[in-house]
Symmetry: C2
Amino acid sequence: MTGPCLEQAILKSLPDTVDSIVVAVSGGVDSVVLLHLLQRVAARCGLILRAVHLNHCMRPEADDDARFVEALCQQLNIPCHSESCNVAKLAQQGKISLEMAGRLARRRLLEQVAAETGAQLIALGHHRDDQLETLLLRLTRGTGISGLSGMAELDLPWWRPLLFCSRRQLLDYARRQSLSWREDASNLDPLFVRNRIRHQIVPRLKDINPQFAERMVVLSRQVAVEEDFWRYQIETHFPSIRVACDDGLRLQRSPLLGFHPALRLRLLRAALFEVRGHLHGIEAVHLQAIDDLLTGARSQAQLDLPGCWVARRYEHLWVRTAAPAMPPRYDVALQIPGEILLPDGRKLVATVVEQVEIETRHRVYVDQAVLDRPLTVRTWRPGDCFVPLGMTGHKRLKQLFSDLKIEKEERLRTPLVVAGETLLWVAGLQRSGFGVVTPLSVRPVRLELL
Amino acid sequence: MTGPCLEQAILKSLPDTVDSIVVAVSGGVDSVVLLHLLQRVAARCGLILRAVHLNHCMRPEADDDARFVEALCQQLNIPCHSESCNVAKLAQQGKISLEMAGRLARRRLLEQVAAETGAQLIALGHHRDDQLETLLLRLTRGTGISGLSGMAELDLPWWRPLLFCSRRQLLDYARRQSLSWREDASNLDPLFVRNRIRHQIVPRLKDINPQFAERMVVLSRQVAVEEDFWRYQIETHFPSIRVACDDGLRLQRSPLLGFHPALRLRLLRAALFEVRGHLHGIEAVHLQAIDDLLTGARSQAQLDLPGCWVARRYEHLWVRTAAPAMPPRYDVALQIPGEILLPDGRKLVATVVEQVEIETRHRVYVDQAVLDRPLTVRTWRPGDCFVPLGMTGHKRLKQLFSDLKIEKEERLRTPLVVAGETLLWVAGLQRSGFGVVTPLSVRPVRLELL
């Protein structure tokens, strides 16, 4: 690709309606060529350019780099915003790598200048060899398919117009145009993993196939097209499986099971992304574990995963950033007449009445004559059982909960009214046959869950 | 993974209803461990095993390897089928690499023995490090996403029960069981690309991330799940876009355009696969070129691609292994009365008649009185034009063809009846207004395309 060709590539990649661009300029050959080319394009299309340089204060030559960029911009007649920042300190404070801290600081400054100047794009000098290194880095550290789409040419406001040009093409252009630039000695430092990929691994792979870089870029473009397909699939199907819920995210299990496992896993990733805000730390085993929750035999089970908590609750999958706080257990006396304020704000009220009305799930009557022990209201305990109204045998409370699909958290919010060891009422769900009011009952007690 | 764990892994991977297995045994540690483990599993499950060894006659130790495998099988009491084959000669004859020739010869022998013995599976000793090398080889040489699914654990009859075990695990097992095996010196030969990947590249990537192999295998499993999704999508949509056609494959353009580009490209790949039998030599640029054909403005255009020919013909995409033979051009005199046998077997007949019937696309009448020059029948030429019946101005024949969506190949099969320079009839399509029979016409000539 010759000079005009690089210019053409930039013009082709430039979105319409852009009139102002911020350009990241480190002073290295990539960004110098980018700035130079953009200046030519700007002259043709009437674009406003503004260069931004961040001095990382990491290397002795950093100040010289900054002065170089300022002089270059002056020569090209492009306004330059140059700032310094203690990246080492940022890295220490944020407990992140120097590379990460530098990138974050650069991004922040670029976004800030773009916002201040009303620029629609932030141009970055990444080229094909950077893309190749990024792909190899991700493969080495571990990536899902999505990661293989690599850096995007356009991901507003970020714009990488040189992404499909090789480093060699940029160097050739710089030499033909007699441009000068700064060499970054840290690009040779094998402590940076990217440099080991660049200097030790890529050359050997290119020995095997000189077209290696091109092939990887072709792969990444195929991946990018298919990622777009998956985004579309998720936009289509996610709303249909989502359940209205004001506590985290709930998905319907049954339609999820009807999808192909590949789509199901993509939807689960989308759910985690929505709840967590990102997918860092989520690995294939985690998604597989969630899928096992969905497809498994246990109707209630939960997983603590990095940065989130996922539970199967019967026909729902429930995703939160953390496990919900368990409602407190309690065990308190209930006077007759009297009332108890429950932890969730509801009340349990005992009243002596003359007249008996029809019973509901929230109101039952007990014959006070059969109550030989004082009443208590408490949460469930393992082994609880009772004789439900209309049955002769005992039923385990756990079985009742399960039959009615009462979720784990809800079980602890269900008050039990107990006389000694005898469970009278699973409030809101079912009463026992004990103490049912008859025409002979005197002074029946009304129990209400309000 | 200890001994029993490896055994468990094999048992878990073993499909039901299998009772007879052919085992590929080179004599290397992978296949020795595989045979040993399978013998234990066979003893538990009542499987019939048969070992197969192919002597490639490539290395001086090859005969020793064969004797080693035969002795090992005797010791394990497993029948052994051992054969020799001149791989170097096969490679030369087939103009393929030694690696490829060896693999093809092994596969053929294994399939043959499996067929003879009624074995349902052919067990191969590939392990996780082989998988890793395969993935890196494909990435290096260039692959689409599909290639990243790597080798399958089960792809009947091929079975790789050790695919998720590392080489280290197999070596540990072999040492603990005091097994002996043969070292293949060619595994160190840097002439083989796989060896360069294994010895020069993998160790450096593992330096960066010791979990590199596991991560790549996780990626390949995600790809495999999504490949299955795509297979399902293609099975669903391919029949709906296919047009019945006995000459190559034809797809409908309009539904193809309605699909997401990712699905469209997958369907195009499926079409090429169906016509070519494989996808070797098909690259992303080829698929993109076909997609450009589909979406472009030209209603008829064609591409010569490796091993196939793809054409847009109006609302169809037509795929053949090669371009269709062009129908011959001709230009012959038509006597009145008389007839001409056309190259495609049809006839063009001129008859002098008394009575005129209604005209059709295949039968017209011409007033002989206006014919001042003899008739000829010929194929179209650039610049041909005529005055269609009912019009006053000239129409270019090319325009007629285009209006009627007559495909390129069909245009050359359309006979034109011409008097000197005057086009009388585009046979089968439209007649000109010249020489229309009137009540005053004497001895009208009937022209028929039969």
